[in-house]
């Protein structure tokens, strides 16, 4: 590890530690200053900790883990993300590659892709609920749709971005269209497709949280948040938020390191 890197890690830990300390102090002060009784539109709620102290957060966390609520929520939500992401990315990449390569296909598919591209994915949820019911299918398909749109655009533009010189050179040397596709188009388009998948992964998390909030059924992270909001139980709410944040961060890190690994053959600067 170089000196610069060590310095960066030291500074990162320093600033995160400062945030943690500031929060702790604010929570301790807040316990005395902030109201415990809140007017919620139609009625008062008592015993609200707007900034829960570390003590009550730890208590809540222990309860959520012991009762197996948090682990099972994480498993269920992550499973939905994985299923939707796999389905959506495969479909999206295949369609994107196809429309990128074949102009006639693009002409046919263009109105659809434009419509899908400018539709906020969440707006499809009511439609999917009508079509596929409240269960698992509508949630997974919603994630798949939001992932597929991003992956499709990424793959399409990536194929279009392959320099014409490469294609001409390969054709002049007598390569068949299939060989060109496998040996030139795919490798050249790969980094951008992967980058779009990373964006899609972040989008998938946004989608799942809302889908689970609206149709809140046991057990999932969205349900955890909805439940915490209904009581309201602030420590549980913050733990839910932190869990989602950690999962988003972890999946992004995973995608980033995978990206670095599979594009190692490329020359990179910096």
């Amino acid at each position: 590890m170089s000196l610069v890197q060590r310095n960066r890690i030291k500074r990162a830990l320093l600033s995160l530690g400062a945030i943690a300390v500031v929060y702790g102090i604010a929570a301790e002060i807040g316990r005395w200053v902030l109201p415990h009784r809140i007017w919620m539109d139609v009625h008062y709620i008592d015993n609200v900790e707007l900034l829960p102290t570390y003590e009550s957060l730890a208590e809540e966390l222990a309860f959520l883990i012991q009762s197996w609520i948090l682990p099972s929520s994480i498993l269920v939500s992550t499973g939905r993300i994985l299923a939707g992401f796999l389905l959506g990315s495969v479909v999206g990449i295949v369609v994107g590659l196809a429309t990128g390569r074949a102009a006639r296909l693009e002409y046919v598919a263009d109105p659809w892709t434009t419509l899908l591209r400018f539709t906020p994915a969440l707006a499809l949820l009511p439609l999917y609920v009508i079509w596929f019911g409240y269960g698992e299918a509508s949630k997974i398909l919603l994630i798949a749709t939001s992932v597929a749109v991003v992956a499709m655009l990424g793959a399409h533009q990536a194929v279009r971005g392959v320099p014409q010189v490469y294609l001409d050179a390969a054709r002049a040397l007598g390569a068949s269209p299939r060989l060109i596709f496998r040996k030139i188009v795919l490798p050249a388009a790969f980094p951008q497709i992967f980058a779009s998948l990373r964006v899609a992964l972040a989008l998938a998390w946004v989608t799942i949280v809302v889908a689970e909030l609206i149709d809140a059924k046991m057990p999932s992270l969205g349900y955890l948040l909805a439940l915490a909001g209904a009581y309201p139980r602030v420590p549980q709410m913050l733990i839910g938020l932190a869990t989602i944040g950690a999962l988003v961060f972890l999946s992004d890190m995973l995608a980033l390191s995978l990206h670095a690994k599979v594009t190692r053959w490329m020359r990179r600067t910096g």
Partner: protein, 291 residues
């Protein structure tokens, strides 16, 4: 264009299939797909548009029961919306307003943070971890917590949008500044450019294209967040129109009418497309010097 017309015709044929052929005799995936409540016929879509645009002006005469005056196609969903005085154009305007507010407040904020951490390595080292922490939390998940602090007001619909736009804008700005070829910087510095001049004449123009393409992406995110927060927690706007009124946990209690949902989606897509076209034109205009 012609493929659009073909598409519309194909949809009309498909959605009206139950009239022309006996759907019940088809094998199962087809049979359940061609039900009218799955693919609302085109005339139902048009009817929904007409009802929603015209709004709740037509009052039935008091001596007759109200249900006799309803259209054949007018569903519960449209009925509930009309009772609330919701129309398509006002909903669209409200949502557009929220999106614009999010862009106007969130984009400068995000660009500012991006500039700060892009310009100074020291600030980057300290602030970037916090930014990653903040960015990882989906803005819509924050809604209930914001509501506890600020009560049931407009704020908890607007804050998630601002938050989403700001966090989206940081990265393109940051990379726009960071990836600036250092030869430019060295040349400008050695010619004596410093401070405001360096920022205005070298850094901002260089980061411009990245920032502008980031703006277009942020616009899409803003629409999605606006609709999501309205679906969850608002009594107006397009999100409310789509899920058919009601609040919070009672959402989806009314049976949604697929025609209204589709009309809503089409309206949202059209509005999103229009805004994106505007942003694209702006981008072309502002980066004309680059070509």
């Amino acid at each position: 264009m012609s493929s659009l017309i073909v598409l519309a015709l194909a949809y009309t044929l498909l959605s009206n299939a139950s009239r022309f052929i006996d759907v019940d005799q088809l094998p199962d995936p087809l049979r359940s797909t061609l039900r009218p409540d799955v693919l609302p016929p085109t005339q139902a879509l048009v009817q929904a548009i007409v009802d929603l645009v015209r709004g709740p002006e037509k009052q039935p005469p008091p001596d007759e029961p109200a249900h006799m005056h309803h259209h054949v196609h007018t569903s519960d969903h449209v009925g509930v919306l009309l009772q609330q005085g919701v129309t398509l154009q006002t909903s669209l305007l409200i949502t557009t307003g929220r999106v614009l507010f999010g862009m106007v407040v969130g984009a400068p904020l995000g660009i500012l943070i991006g500039l700060l951490i892009g310009l100074s390595r020291r600030v980057d080292d300290y602030v970037h971890p916090i930014y990653v922490l903040v960015r990882s939390i989906p803005p819509l998940a924050l809604i209930t917590y914001i509501m506890l602090w600020l009560g049931h007001t407009e704020a908890h619909r607007l804050i998630p949008i601002v938050y989403a736009v700001a966090t989206t804008m940081v990265i393109p700005t940051y990379h726009g500044v960071r990836d600036l070829a250092s030869t430019y910087l060295v040349a400008a510095r050695s010619l004596g450019a410093r401070g405001w001049l360096l920022l205005r004449r070298v850094l901002l123009p260089a980061a411009g294209p990245a920032v502008l393409s980031g703006l277009r992406y942020a616009l899409a995110i803003a629409w999605m967040t606006a609709v999501g927060s309205e679906m969850l927690m608002a009594d107006n706007g397009m999100g409310n129109l789509i899920v058919g009124g009601g609040m919070w946990a009672s959402r989806f209690q009314t049976r949604s009418d697929p025609a209204v949902v589709m009309v809503g989606i089409l309206a949202l897509a059209a509005a999103g497309w229009l805004m994106d076209s505007g942003a694209r034109l702006l981008t072309i205009r502002l980066t004309r010097w680059a070509r």
